[in-house]
Structures are given as structure tokens and as C-alpha cells.
């Protein structure tokens, strides 16, 4: 006899496969629809009832993305890359420095400072969006990609610092001491000895930040008002509203695919780090 949690052992093998395959179909079906709808011709995409698969494969919807809205899709892809990439670089850099500081240099007051940074975990940015908008305005950063990047960095930092601190803390103190004896300063020890060992934590931080910022909708919707600076998720609202009434669901799903597929590919390539980071970051 087995416990309830060991479904795989208590179920007959065939039943387990059937259950897993059924769930997989439910999970993958919407993604299939996204792809198939985006690859239909314009007329077929508007058919009622919908066709199950594209009878005539066409990339017209993807081409049309360039002409929908005032700016082409590439501009918005660029915006998303700039914001998500910028926030990722900044978060990784700042989190590595601070994570090292908190893990290896237990200086006076470091506990309090670490707590302050972790407090950002507890209060979501949705709750402080109103003054955030005013502050960005005051700094002359309203409606700029730089402002959005800084806001994203702020809210990714606690997670990054937490992960990086744990990465550094798990290293034996002997490693850095050896580096110091060999004549490295703090930065020398970090770049030559510690950072290479902390690479998994680094990748987790980077991946997590990139995904979150690439997909973020709420702050991007509020803080960016100029269509030329919209990131991809907000651009989807343009695809939806521009042709209201005769909404083209083929183009819409092509936009969804352009937003979603980079994440899926990155995840499939680096899922080991992604899941490890997720678990490490939440079990604080």
C-alpha cells in the first residue's frame, strides 16, 4: 500500500500516464490555439465556428503586426528588451554587490539594512503606484523607459539580493581568505574567485528578473503614456483597441505569441535555474 501522495505508485501505470497526458493536453491546448490562430489567414481567423488547425498556413498576421498601431511591433520588442534587459543587468549588478556585502561582511548595521531591503518583499508595488508616479514625474523620469527600468529594478532587488546573499553565504570563508592572501582586494576576490562559484544564483536572479519585467503589465500601463515607448504587454492593448469592432484575432494572437514565445524558449533552455531560483527564493 502507498500513501496518497505517491499517486504514481498507487495508480496502475496506464492510469497514471492517461492522467498526466490528459492534464498535458489541457495545459498545452491554449498554447496550441495561440499558435494555430496566429498562423491562419485573415479570413480563416475570423471563421465561426473556428477551424481546428490552419487549413492554409500563413505568416500574414506576423507581417501585419508591423503595420498595426502607430509604431511597428519591432519598436515594442525593442522597448521590452531594453527595459527587461536593463533591469536585469542593473538588478544582477546591484544584487551581486549587496549580496556579497550582506553575506561576507557582517558589518555593523547590516542586519537592519538587510531587513529594510527585504521589506520591499512584503509591500507590493501596486500599493505605492500613486506616489511612484509623482516621484518619477518629479525626477523628470515620467513616461521614460529609464524610469520604468529603475522601478522594475527596485522591486526585483530584494529577491536578487536574497538569492545572491545565500549563494555567497554557502561558500566556505576559506576561499576568499585564500584570495586575499594571494593579493586580491575585495573586488578582485569577488570577480576572480567568488563570482564564478555563484553563477547558478546569478543566472536564477537574471532569469527571474527578465521574465518578470518582460511580462509586467500594471506599472508599464501607468508609467508609460507614450505609445512609442510601450512595452509588449501594453502593446497588446493597442492591438486589441485599434480595430475595435472588427478585431482581428489572428493578429491579436500573433502579438500574444511574440510576447509569450521568448519566455517559453528561455524557460525550456534554462528551466533548471528558473525552478531552483523560484524554490530558493520563496522558502525564505
Amino acid at each position: 500500500m502507498d500513501t496518497l501522495t505517491d499517486v504514481r505508485r498507487s495508480l496502475p501505470r496506464a492510469a497514471w500516464w492517461a492522467a498526466c497526458l490528459c492534464v498535458s493536453v489541457l495545459v498545452l491546448y491554449p498554447l496550441y490555439v495561440m499558435l494555430s490562430q496566429s498562423l491562419k489567414s485573415g479570413a480563416e481567423a475570423a471563421e465561426n465556428p473556428p477551424t481546428m488547425y490552419p487549413h492554409q498556413l500563413s505568416v500574414d498576421n506576423y507581417k501585419a503586426l508591423q503595420d498595426t498601431g502607430q509604431y511597428g511591433i519591432w519598436q515594442h520588442v525593442g522597448n521590452s528588451l531594453a527595459v527587461a534587459g536593463g533591469a536585469t543587468l542593473l538588478t544582477v549588478a546591484l544584487a551581486t554587490l549587496a549580496g556579497y556585502g550582506f553575506a561576507k561582511l557582517r558589518f555593523r548595521g547590516s542586519g537592519v539594512l538587510f531587513f529594510i531591503i527585504l521589506a520591499t518583499f512584503m509591500i507590493p508595488f501596486q500599493a505605492i503606484i500613486t506616489p511612484l508616479f509623482s516621484i518619477l514625474h518629479g525626477l523628470g523620469l515620467s513616461n521614460t523607459l529609464l524610469g520604468l527600468t529603475l522601478v522594475y529594478t527596485t522591486f526585483q532587488l530584494p529577491f536578487g539580493i536574497f538569492l545572491m546573499r545565500n549563494s555567497f553565504a554557502s561558500l566556505p570563508a576559506g576561499i576568499e581568505e585564500a584570495a586575499f592572501i594571494d593579493g586580491c582586494g575585495f573586488f578582485g576576490a569577488m570577480t576572480r574567485v567568488l563570482l564564478p562559484v555563484a553563477v547558478p544564483g546569478l543566472i536564477s536572479t537574471a532569469l527571474f528578473t527578465f521574465f518578470t519585467c518582460w511580462n509586467e503589465f500594471f506599472a508599464a500601463l501607468i508609467l508609460i503614456t507614450d505609445e512609442s515607448k510601450f512595452t509588449l504587454p501594453v502593446t497588446l492593448t493597442v492591438l486589441a483597441s485599434n480595430q475595435l469592432g472588427t478585431l482581428n484575432w489572428g493578429i491579436m494572437q500573433a502579438g500574444v505569441a511574440v510576447t509569450a514565445i521568448p519566455c517559453i524558449v528561455l524557460y525550456l533552455l534554462l528551466q533548471r535555474y528558473y525552478v531552483a531560483g523560484l524554490v530558493a527564493g520563496s522558502v525564505k
Binding site: 500500500m1 500513501t3 496518497l4 505517491d6 499517486v7 504514481r8 498526466c20 492534464v23 498535458s24 495545459v27 491554449p30 498554447l31 490555439v33 495561440m34 490562430q37 465561426n48 473556428p50 549588478a93 546591484l94 544584487a95 554587490l97 549587496a98 556585502g101 561582511l105 558589518f107 547590516s110 512584503m122 508595488f125 501596486q126 500599493a127 503606484i129 500613486t130 506616489p131 508616479f133 516621484i135 529603475l150 529594478t153 527596485t154 522591486f155 593579493g183 582586494g185 578582485g188 521574465f211 511580462n215 503589465f217 500594471f218 500601463l221 501607468i222 504587454p233 497588446l236 486589441a240 491579436m252 494572437q253 510576447t259 519566455c263 517559453i264 528551466q271 525552478v275 523560484l278 524554490v279
Partner: protein, 316 residues
């Protein structure tokens, strides 16, 4: 290399000069403090400007009549008084709580089932685990637009399926009532979030030693009793974590309603964050929006505290 070496050397000699006896130890500590501060300052500066200042400003702004343009005026607690009589806000709060109460148990049950399904499996189970996790990496906005199409009357495959199964007519508009709109949003959220909770629960399940379950079984506890009296108590920290995440996420729901229901019909699916958005950035009443935000923060803190308290109590 030479650069760092000489810098370290000069730093050491500089510090060693004034106090030859206790010098090295003190220097180390001071260097530790200075280097440490230098390392954390950039992160701290960003967090201060974009988190701590806005956090304090939320409460400050909430005491003002604060339009987007023009002078702001101190009005004391008037914004809060207004909020307690604001039927739109009260409805938004009620709807958000309803949504949270519906989605939380559903998500947890689905996620637990998924976790049990792939727990302690071989390579095939790991592949299925990756598949179940896939929707998590897609953003809420993209997922919402995908499901908006799936449920389009006549055009969407979901409407088609509902018609074929005889649940509803092909041209039924699922977004015509707040209840069916909410149902669709819940379906989308379960699809998108269950994989995330599954992974967290799996990490909890994996930390339970196999021997514990086996011992319970040998002692004559059935599968259900083993689950109820061994697995659940040992899984409690993970369950608490997942619940806190889930409740906090649901209380902050915005994207899915903004995109799928647009808050309609007749403002029936406006959530708390949605109402804050409308107040601050559609009506440009920034002071009132800040007051609503402050109230939401209090609710969030209270819910988290209550949840922790309840989970701890049942522990004893």
C-alpha cells in the same frame, strides 16, 4: 592584478601606522564596514528612492486633496471618511475578497493534485512537471488576451467546445454577466498559476522523508489517514507559504480583469487595485487613490497576519 595588490598593500600600511598594536584588527573591522557600506549603498539608494519614499508618501498624500495638476491641499482624514461611504470602492473590496475566496481553494486543490501526480516519479514525471509549469512563464497580459480569444462568442474554441458539450449556445457571451466573466478569469488563472504552486508544493513534499510515510503505513494508518495526519502537518510550512502567495496575489488582481472583463459589466468585476488605478490615473484624484492604497496595504497586512496566526494555531 598589480593594481589591486598595491591598493591592498597601501591600505594596510596606512591603517597600520597610527596604532601599531591593535591596528590590524581594527582596520579589518573598519574596512569591513566601509567596504560593506560601499557594496550595499547602490542597492539601498534605489530602494530608498523608489520604495521607502513612495511608501511614506502614500500616507502623506492620502491626507491631501491632490490633483494631477495644481495645488494640493491638506484635508486630514477626509479621504478615508469618503472611502468608507464610497459604494464603488466597497463593492471593489467585496468583489476582490469574493474572487480571493473562490480562486484560493481551487488553485490549491489543483496544484496539490498536480504535485501528487508528478511527485517521486522518474524522467517521465519530470517532463510532465515541466509541461505543467509552462503557462507560468507567460505573462498575465498575454495569457489574458489568449483566453479572451478562447472564450469569444462564436469565434473562440472554448465557446465552440461549450456548444458541442451542450453547456451553452455557441454565441453565448461569457462576459455578459459578472459571474460568468469571473468564472472565465478563474479558469485562466488556474491554467496560468497552478504550475507555480505545484513546484512550491513539490519542494515541500520532497523534504518529507520517505520513512515517515512508510512508518505511518506500517502502523496501520490508511492512505487517507497518512495524508491527513502525517503529510499535511509536515507540509504545513509550504502550504502556509503557498496560501500567503495565493491570497496576496489574488487581493492584488488587476491584469486579468482589466483585459478580460474591462471591469464590466456595469463595474461588476472591478477589483481593489483596478479601482485605485481608476481613481489615481483615470480620475486623477491622486490623494484619494493614495488613501485607497493605504487601506489596501492594511488589508493585505491583516490578511497575512491572520493567515499566519490561524496556521500556527491549528499547529498546536
Amino acid at each position: 592584478m598589480t593594481d589591486t595588490t598595491s591598493r591592498t598593500a597601501s591600505r594596510a600600511s596606512r591603517a597600520a601606522a597610527p596604532k601599531p598594536v591593535r591596528g590590524p584588527w581594527l582596520t579589518n573591522r573598519r574596512r569591513r564596514l566601509l567596504t560593506g557600506l560601499a557594496l550595499v549603498t547602490p542597492a539601498l539608494a534605489v530602494v530608498t528612492v523608489f520604495f521607502i519614499v513612495p511608501l511614506i508618501m502614500t500616507f502623506w498624500m492620502s491626507l491631501h486633496d491632490w490633483p494631477l495638476l495644481g495645488e494640493h491641499r491638506f484635508i486630514g482624514l477626509d479621504n478615508y471618511r469618503r472611502a468608507f461611504q464610497d459604494s464603488e470602492w466597497l463593492h471593489a473590496i467585496r468583489f476582490t475578497l469574493e474572487y480571493t475566496l473562490i480562486i484560493t481553494p481551487v488553485l490549491l486543490i489543483v496544484a496539490l493534485a498536480l504535485a501528487f501526480l508528478v511527485h517521486r516519479g522518474g524522467r517521465a514525471a519530470r517532463v510532465f512537471q515541466s509541461v505543467f509549469f509552462l503557462p507560468v512563464v507567460i505573462g498575465f497580459a498575454a495569457a489574458a488576451y489568449l483566453w479572451l480569444y478562447l472564450a469569444q462568442p462564436g469565434l473562440g474554441p472554448l465557446s465552440d467546445l461549450a456548444a458541442k458539450l451542450g453547456i451553452a449556445g455557441r454565441d453565448t457571451n461569457w462576459f455578459a454577466t459578472a459571474t460568468s466573466g469571473l468564472l472565465l478569469v478563474c479558469l485562466m488563472v488556474v491554467w496560468k498559476v497552478a504550475g507555480m504552486q505545484m513546484v512550491l508544493l513539490l519542494s515541500g513534499l520532497q523534504s518529507i522523508p520517505v520513512e515517515v510515510n512508510e512508518a505511518a503505513l506500517i502502523d496501520g494508518a490508511g492512505p487517507w489517514k497518512t495524508f491527513r495526519y502525517v503529510t499535511v502537518p509536515l507540509l504545513r510550512p509550504t502550504l502556509a507559504l503557498v496560501l500567503v502567495f495565493s491570497v496576496a496575489g489574488s487581493l492584488l488582481a488587476f491584469d486579468q480583469f482589466y483585459i478580460m472583463t474591462s471591469g464590466g459589466p456595469s463595474n461588476g468585476t472591478i477589483t481593489a487595485v483596478y479601482q485605485i488605478y481608476r481613481t489615481s490615473f483615470i480620475n486623477f484624484e491622486l490623494g484619494y487613490g493614495a488613501a485607497l492604497s493605504a487601506m489596501l496595504m492594511v488589508v493585505l497586512a491583516a490578511v497575512s497576519a491572520l493567515q499566519m496566526l490561524l496556521l500556527r494555531k491549528t499547529d498546536n
